[in-house]
């Protein structure tokens, strides 16, 4: 397979994992996170440090990455989730900037130069790259999708849906807003951490600016475009926004403008996303089928 396609495939896969995490926070639990890239970064840096400074293999550092990203998510989530919607947006933006600044200025993390020389992931002695790495990413993606799907089937997912719809009413049926918002937040950030670890071992070189606010915006855009609150939305969004820049490569100078325009159009015309409730896909499907239990 063309290595160019494999590269794009890897990016889409990694982004899908990270955005699936964002989906749990924003799509399922109805919270805002505009700082998701910070956790992507925390996962990446943790993996990078464990690999380069502690010499740990990816497989051993993976659970550590998940735990550390989850704990930091918990610590940041605690104050954030008690504030009002728009406060939350600004707080998560702030978290992103602060985490990025932290990685940029604390010498342990390599400062502006970042961390390089991150080894490839080895599977029973074979270093993974190219197609084999893509396979690895796909395996993690399948796991992420499964967790996403299971979440919607579990009581905790239902609790998050009620929080999303009406937090006060949810409390009156016994759903603790802090507990379930935190749960969603930690799950989402942990997934971002996993994506970050994969990213670090793929790029083999990371720096703070890979995890800045524009990346968070891109992730949220993927979620919005693909469809919030759906299991496949993150993949669709990652694919669309991953492939588009390549499609528009000849128009490279206009790429950002096209991205901004696309994002603006989608959010303005289909705030639920392409796969969302009033989105393009569902309304075409509705036009084909009459009735169906959720139509009335």
């Amino acid at each position: 397979m063309d290595s160019y396609i494999i590269t794009i495939g890897i990016f889409i896969a990694i982004n899908s994992i990270v955005v699936s995490g964002l989906n749990i926070i924003v799509g399922y639990a109805g919270q805002i996170s505009l700082g998701h890239a910070a956790f992507f970064g925390i996962g990446a840096y943790t993996a990078a440090i464990l690999a380069t400074k502690a010499g740990l293999s990816f497989w051993i550092s993976l659970p550590i990455v998940i735990i550390i990203t989850g704990i930091i998510g918990l610590l940041m989530g605690l104050p954030s989730l008690r504030v009002r919607e728009d406060f939350l947006a600004i707080t998560t933006i702030g978290i992103n900037f602060i985490v990025e600044a932290f990685f940029m200025y604390v010498p342990f993390f390599g400062g502006a130069l970042g961390i390089g020389g991150i080894p490839r992931i080895e599977f029973f002695g074979t270093p993974l790259h190219g197609f084999t790495f893509l396979l690895l990413c796909l395996v993690f993606l399948v796991i992420a999708l499964f967790i996403s799907w299971w979440f919607t089937k579990a009581w905790c997912g239902l609790a998050c849906f009620t929080l999303r719809d009406d937090e006060i009413a949810a409390s009156t049926i016994g759903v603790s807003p802090v507990k379930f918002k935190l749960l969603a937040f930690v799950m989402g950030t942990a997934m971002a951490g996993i994506g970050g670890a994969l990213y670090a071992h793929y790029m083999r070189f990371i720096s703070a600016s890979d995890f800045g606010f524009p990346v968070s915006v891109m992730m949220l855009s993927m979620l919005v475009v693909g469809g919030m609150g759906t299991v496949w939305g993150p993949i669709l969004g990652a694919a669309i926004l991953g492939i588009l820049p390549e499609v528009f490569r000849p128009l490279i100078d206009y790429r950002m403008l096209l991205y901004a325009t696309l994002l603006l159009l989608v959010i303005r015309l289909q705030p639920g996303g392409i796969l969302g409730d009033n989105g393009f896909v569902k309304s075409r499907l509705k036009a084909f089928s009459r009735g169906g239990k959720n139509e009335k």
Binding site: V26, G30, I32, L34, P79, V83, R84, E85, D86, F87, A89, I90, T91, I93, G94, I95, F97, I98, A101, M104, Y105, F213, V217, L220, S221, V224, D253, Y254, M256, L257, Y259, A260, T261, L263, L264, I267, R268, P271
Partner: protein
């Protein structure tokens, strides 16, 4: 000591400019409760329009007025076309639209004017003023004078006029204000016009003071000003101004003068997180946090 005072004056000027941008943002947040990140885009447009008109006419006052006009119109268009239809959705929807808009504006400016930094050379009557032992550039004095005038005008409008009263009514409760006979839609548009004009002025001042106009000049202010309206207290324009002045001074003195190795642009966010933890209603805030 003289250096300290010079830096203090500098910090105050930067703070004043932040305050100009943030006060418009605060008015807009107060009235629609949206995070109008694209406000920084309008500020950028203001700088470019001001520069262009000045280059053509050589008349600074005219450039300022033209810029204010263009930005007001643009602000109203943004409000009508982008934000109003999205008000019924959760807060992140208009926020994403705003972010996309800011990005779009940056790109359009880059495509039209080029990515390079343009200077804004203005020939002012006096080039430096010396007070005691300190030399103040006329650009700095201009920043002070213009900001004070604008803040004064804003104060008059919001607290002494019927328009200000209507604005406060609409920001408290739009449907009740409408029921009382206030044309809420018009008031919202007017607020955007006022906020955008002030942003335009801020853009021009920045262009002159730093002699720099470039497409991404709004990127950092966009989010810093968000942090500032939180620190000042959501909905409070005086709070926004106070927070901005304090930040300007803190950034310049702490980092510029005292050389503390801390990223300057992150200071605003650290302040914001502290405020959220210790005093969520902000310095002078008057909107109560939801339980």
């Amino acid at each position: 000591m003289d250096l300290f005072i010079e830096q203090l004056m500098n910090g105050l000027a930067i703070g004043a400019i932040y305050a100009l941008i943030t006060s418009g943002l605060s008015l807009i947040y107060g009235i629609l409760r949206i995070l109008h990140v694209a406000h920084a885009g309008i500020y950028t447009i203001g700088a470019y329009v001001g520069l262009s008109v000045y280059s053509i006419t050589g008349n600074l006052l005219f450039a300022i007025l033209a810029s204010m006009a263009v930005c007001s119109v643009f602000g109203i268009l943004v409000e009508r076309i982008v934000y109003s239809p999205l008000l019924k959705f959760p807060a992140y929807v208009p926020l994403i639209a705003s972010i996309a808009l800011l990005l779009g504006i940056e790109e359009v400016m880059r495509l039209i004017a080029g990515p390079q930094i343009h200077g804004f050379p203005v020939s002012l009557p006096i080039s430096t003023i010396k007070v005691a032992n300190i030399s103040l550039s006329s650009a700095l004095v201009m920043v002070y004078i213009v900001s004070i005038v604008i803040f004064f005008v804003l104060w008059i409008i919001t607290s002494k006029t019927d328009l200000g009263l209507a604005m406060r009514a609409v920001s408290q409760d739009m449907s009740i204000a409408s029921a009382m006979g206030i044309n809420s839609k018009q008031i919202v548009s007017l607020t955007f016009a006022i906020g955008s004009s002030v942003a335009a002025i801020a853009g021009i001042l920045v262009g002159i003071y730093f002699n720099q106009v470039y497409p991404t000049m709004g990127a950092v202010p966009a989010y810093k000003t968000l942090a500032l309206i939180v620190v000042g207290g959501l909905g409070s324009v005086p709070g926004a101004i106070l927070a901005s002045l304090l930040l300007g001074i803190a950034e310049t003195l702490l980092i510029g003068y005292a050389n503390i190795p801390f990223p300057r642009d992150a200071l605003a966010f650290v302040a914001m997180i502290l405020v959220l933890m210790i005093r969520p209603e902000g310095l002078l805030g008057n909107i109560r946090k939801k339980i």
